[in-house]
Amino acid sequence: MSWPLWEVFVRPRRGLNHQHVGSLHAADAEQALRNARDLYTRREEGVSIWVVPATAISASSPEERDAFFAPAADKIYRHPTFYEVPEGAEHI
């Protein structure tokens, strides 16, 4: 009888996104939150915590990494550096 695994996300400060910091075991969400507080924010490392059952996460497969992300690879025109700006134009 092993407690389920939870992934822990912490918002370090107001204005920043929650970030994955690690995982822990807990019987339920409430206990997971308390354990996460004791484990990952002993030095005020966060102002908000999310806990997510590890089984609820769907992840892209590392084997398909090239194919999966390929559509973005040949579209350099999505970056501003692709464009030539004529001499003298300001604020662009």
């Binding site: 009888m1 092993s2 407690w3 695994l5 690690g22 995982s23 822990l24 075991h25 807990a26 019987a27 339920d28 206990q31 004791d38 484990l39 002993r42 030095r43 992840a59 497969s61 590392p62 084997e63 090239d66 992300f69």
Partner: protein, 344 residues
């Protein structure tokens, strides 16, 4: 908060800088790329060669996975068992301030154990199984924790020397090739520096106290010095796992290199304390490194095999804590089930 008034430890800032640099490298690795653009056939080899990070679901050689599980689990076990020698003094700390500090330190060690078990679990093992292997002796923990803490000064010596040696060992692991282990180590190292300083401060206070207190501090150092040197493992000539670990970039420095680094830092720190290290043959060489007497490696292997002063006691205590806590785990599970039923 604790108003520490002790001299800065030489070498300290530089080690912490290395942790910060490892962290910067992790976040600064740039968008997307892992150094292996172009779909290498040997993805694992290419990532290692490019000094990239292997992440949990990446393909990796079975031997790499096994080796990491062994190392991370033993590291986790060391943190957990390591709570005992100091935990022993929480109720007898000489002041409320020292008690609060020691409590926080021991709680940190529990945290280190949990970060590490979590990192090991990303490799497809279950924490409960690792626990089982600790309790039945199939997996080891650092031999240092099989020595007893006889006086309050031992708490100081452990913080200064044992946590100090642990830091020297752990800082390079912040750059280890396995992402979850490297990230756990960055967290751990940031916390360790308080551990070492509080120990150093305890010894500094004792060294400047009564003659009896100074003698107590010296006695603790005399007993912990060689076991601390042995924490770096057998000499390079006898180290079985080192070469492969270095090739995989799990380890970055050899046992002897790390031991030398520790000695070089510690000699000067002892001088500042006005206490001595129990090695009459310490000599500063022309190369800037201290020559020192090796620890007794036969003793190291005896302790690792289970015949140190406190091996049985440590595992018994751990087993009792696990078994005595069974009702808490069962109650929490039952409560979670009941609430789940209520809300659905």
């Amino acid at each position: 908060m604790y108003g520490n008034d002790i001299p800065e430890q030489p070498g300290h800032a530089r080690l912490l800088d290395e942790v910060a640099a490892a962290e910067r490298d992790l976040t600064g690795r740039g968008l997307g790329g892992d150094g292996t653009e172009g779909g290498a056939d040997d993805y694992f080899g290419a990532v290692i060669a490019a000094d990239g990070k292997i992440e949990p679901r990446d393909e990796m050689p079975e031997a790499y996975r096994k080796s990491l599980i062994r190392q991370i689990a033993q590291h986790a076990h060391s943190e957990i068992i390591g709570m005992q020698p100091e935990g022993n003094w929480i109720s007898r700390a000489p002041s409320l301030k020292r008690k609060a500090i020691l409590l926080a330190k021991v709680q940190d060690e529990a945290g280190h154990g949990l970060y590490l078990y979590a990192a090991a679990e990303t490799l497809g093992v279950d924490r409960a199984d690792l626990y089982e292997m600790l309790l039945d002796g199939r997996q080891k923990y650092s031999s240092i924790f099989n020595y007893p803490t006889l006086t309050w000064a031992d708490v100081g010596a452990i913080g200064w020397l044992v946590d100090g040696a642990a830091i020297v060992n752990q800082v390079p692991l912040c750059r280890c090739s396995y992402g979850p282990y490297a990230r756990a180590m960055i967290r751990v190292c940031k916390e360790e520096s308080f551990h070492q300083r509080q120990g150093y401060e305890i010894l500094h206070v004792l060294a400047n106290g009564s003659p009896e207190q100074k003698a107590m501090a010296q006695d603790a150092i005399d007993r912990w010095w060689y076991p601390s040197l042995a924490m770096f493992g057998p000499p390079d000539t006898d180290s079985t796992h080192s070469a492969q670990s270095m090739a995989w970039k799990i380890k970055r420095f050899s046992n002897d290199e790390l031991r030398q680094k520790f000695v070089d830092m510690t000699v000067q720190q002892a001088e500042v304390l006005g206490l001595s290290l129990p090695d009459p043959d310490l000599r500063l060489g022309e190369d800037g490194h201290w020559a020192y007497t090796q620890p007794d490696y036969d003793e190291l292997f005896t302790v690792i095999k289970g015949d140190g002063p406190c091996n049985r006691q440590r595992i018994e205590h751990r087993r009792a804590a696990w078994e005595d806590g069974a009702w808490v785990r069962e109650a929490a599970t039952a409560y979670a089930k009941k609430r789940e039923g209520a809300t659905v």
